[in-house]
Symmetry: C2
Subunit: 354 residues, 2 copies
């Protein structure tokens, strides 16, 4: 994703903060036992691949509320990268995904480790167990990162409700997503609820609120951030859904059409099923969630999504939602410099990339 220049700078600083923290944690872990070094190494490699999108929205949420730049706020927003690491590591276990960010998923990494070492027991079980632990560890280290950021206690306590609620919402969204898969609920309405809680609020709106709360912003600014963040978050997730079906593996870090193989009932799929003929819908239902689906099957599903008009409708919705988000940035409550970066981030996060 092409990012505005200021974002590239912030990204480097967030990465630097994460690296310092990992060095400290590795020292703590290897002090307990040298056998724990692989845990720190695996998380270091995993964290390296993140786009720092949530920290960026949190940082500009802080700046937009009049907060000053400094290493403390960079460390505080970097905590969100750990929350995201937990979500992704556990999500991959739940979905049985093989890859993440172009590398083996965490559970596959430790499965391979077990196999190479010739240990006892089932390598896949070991991989799953370690990935569960490392997701938990990521969630714990998020707190650690936030609480050792150097921001004053009252700022941290002020942000805690939104931080806790955000994380509960992610779990709620994940569960609704699971439920959608197992009940084969293909309504657009349900898919939109999942988008909202699993992704939209959590990627953009809540990080903005988090930064605003750290800065002690008034409720009016929080509302302005919602008016920008909610539609943008939905547009961002819809873009992600399109990429999950039509995206270039070099960019997504996942095999082409992986969302189809995983059976994700996205808004894009829901729209296609609603608009397709009976025969086309049956074809989609047959292929959706087939882990062995080959390129021919992926192409057939893509075809239905395109010809049914679902793709065009989704692109139109992305454009409308992005427009709505950009309009909300005209609020004079948001500090002008921050509004400029938020405008660039909105465009970068939702741009067509096929």
């Amino acid at each position: 994703m092409p990012m505005p220049l200021d974002h590239a700078d912030l990204r480097r600083r967030v990465s630097g903060a994460l690296e310092s923290m990992l060095v400290r944690q590795k020292t703590l872990l290897t002090g307990i036992s040298p056998d724990l070094a692989p845990l720190a190494d695996a998380l270091t490699a995993f964290l390296d691949g993140g786009k720092r999108l949530r920290p960026a929205f949190a940082y500009w949420g802080w700046r937009g509320a009049g907060g000053e730049d400094g290493p403390e706020i960079v460390r505080a927003v970097a905590a969100l990268e750990w929350v995201q690491a937990c979500a992704l590591i556990h999500d991959d276990v739940m979905d049985g995904s093989d890859t993440r960010r172009g590398q083996p998923a965490m559970h596959r990494r430790f499965e391979a480790h077990h196999r190479a070492a010739g240990w006892r027991g089932d390598p896949a079980n070991f991989g799953t167990a370690v990935a569960i632990l490392l997701g938990d560890t990521s969630l714990i280290w998020a707190d650690d990162m936030l609480n050792t950021s150097g921001l004053p206690p009252e700022a941290l306590l002020r942000a805690q409700p939104v931080y806790d609620e955000m994380r509960t919402e992610i779990m709620a969204g994940q569960y609704l997503d699971l439920l959608t898969q197992v009940t084969a609920d293909s309504t657009v309405e349900r898919a939109m609820t999942v988008v909202r809680y699993k992704s939209a609020k959590y990627t953009i709106e809540r990080p903005l609120h988090f930064g605003a709360a750290l800065a002690g912003a008034p409720a009016e600014l929080t509302a302005a951030y919602s008016a920008y963040g909610l539609p943008l978050g939905e547009a961002f997730q819809l873009r992600d859904d399109v990429l999950g079906v039509f995206g270039d593996p070099a960019e997504t870090g996942k095999p082409a059409g992986d969302d189809i193989r995983e059976g994700k009932r996205t808004v894009l799929i829901a729209k296609a099923l609603a608009r397709a003929t009976e025969a086309e819908a049956a074809l989609v239902e047959t292929h959706l969630g087939d882990p062995q689906l080959g390129p021919g099957g992926v192409d057939a599903v893509r075809e239905v999504i395109s010809t049914s008009g679902a793709l065009a409708e989704t692109e139109k919705l992305i454009a409308e939602l992005t427009d709505r988000a950009l309009t909300a940035l005209h609020s004079d409550l948001i500090a002008p410099g921050a509004a400029d970066v938020l405008r660039e981030l909105a465009v970068a996060a939702t741009a067509r990339r096929v």
Copy 2:
């Protein structure tokens, strides 16, 4: 486990605090979607079964440091019950355990839910996925409970390092435990490291430190709590190991000999292997980790543990460690009333119960 009278009272108050919090969280979840009610219900049922041991040590750590009683500290220490819920729910997934606290393990509960509803996909995968999410949710709600306790921000921030380090240590201990199983490392030394990090520090020493840090206690008191908490924590876990092999299912909430079936390489097992004849050791190795092991096999392993002298040696070690813990309570840094309860808790946590 028989508990001192003051503990019974604290236990009720901790349970009350957890219940209020669950009511609030259920409202939040069902506000997102009524489909989320089963998550809150499952956690309510799970939390109901806890012994409130960690909250008790944290509470008396606070009182021993001169902290006053009040609803705020009760809410703050109740957070540890959520940390424990995460550890147990995820531990049961990792071990593939069927039961917990006499009920189906969380992943089995949702597996059954999936099956009863006749949903799509693999019921076991669904159960695992939901249990992963609910463990994560528990970890998040621990923070929520702590941060909404009403204790002042500086007290919360003071306790954060020990809270974070405690949770990282649990994960470290869990990983070392996994490693011990897959490498079949049966040295007593390794088993003691696992005891220390997976259980001893986390059950007693760290909760005491947590309470002390909330109260702003001096380093000398923290050291006194370690002198009591570390040996007691080890004794507590060794008692748990003995119960895992010889315990009454009605008390443990697990089938008899479940630790043998799960292949746990406890200190008790390590001692038995070190002292047994070659033939006896081979017998133990054959049965250890056999999920289908019947009552006859369980009895055969018990026999080796007894006749090798490992059981008597472990009982002796438990008594020595408990004595050491009780001696440390003579420190005049610990407020007298608190020292009395800590003495009773030590006896209750390590008493022979076969």
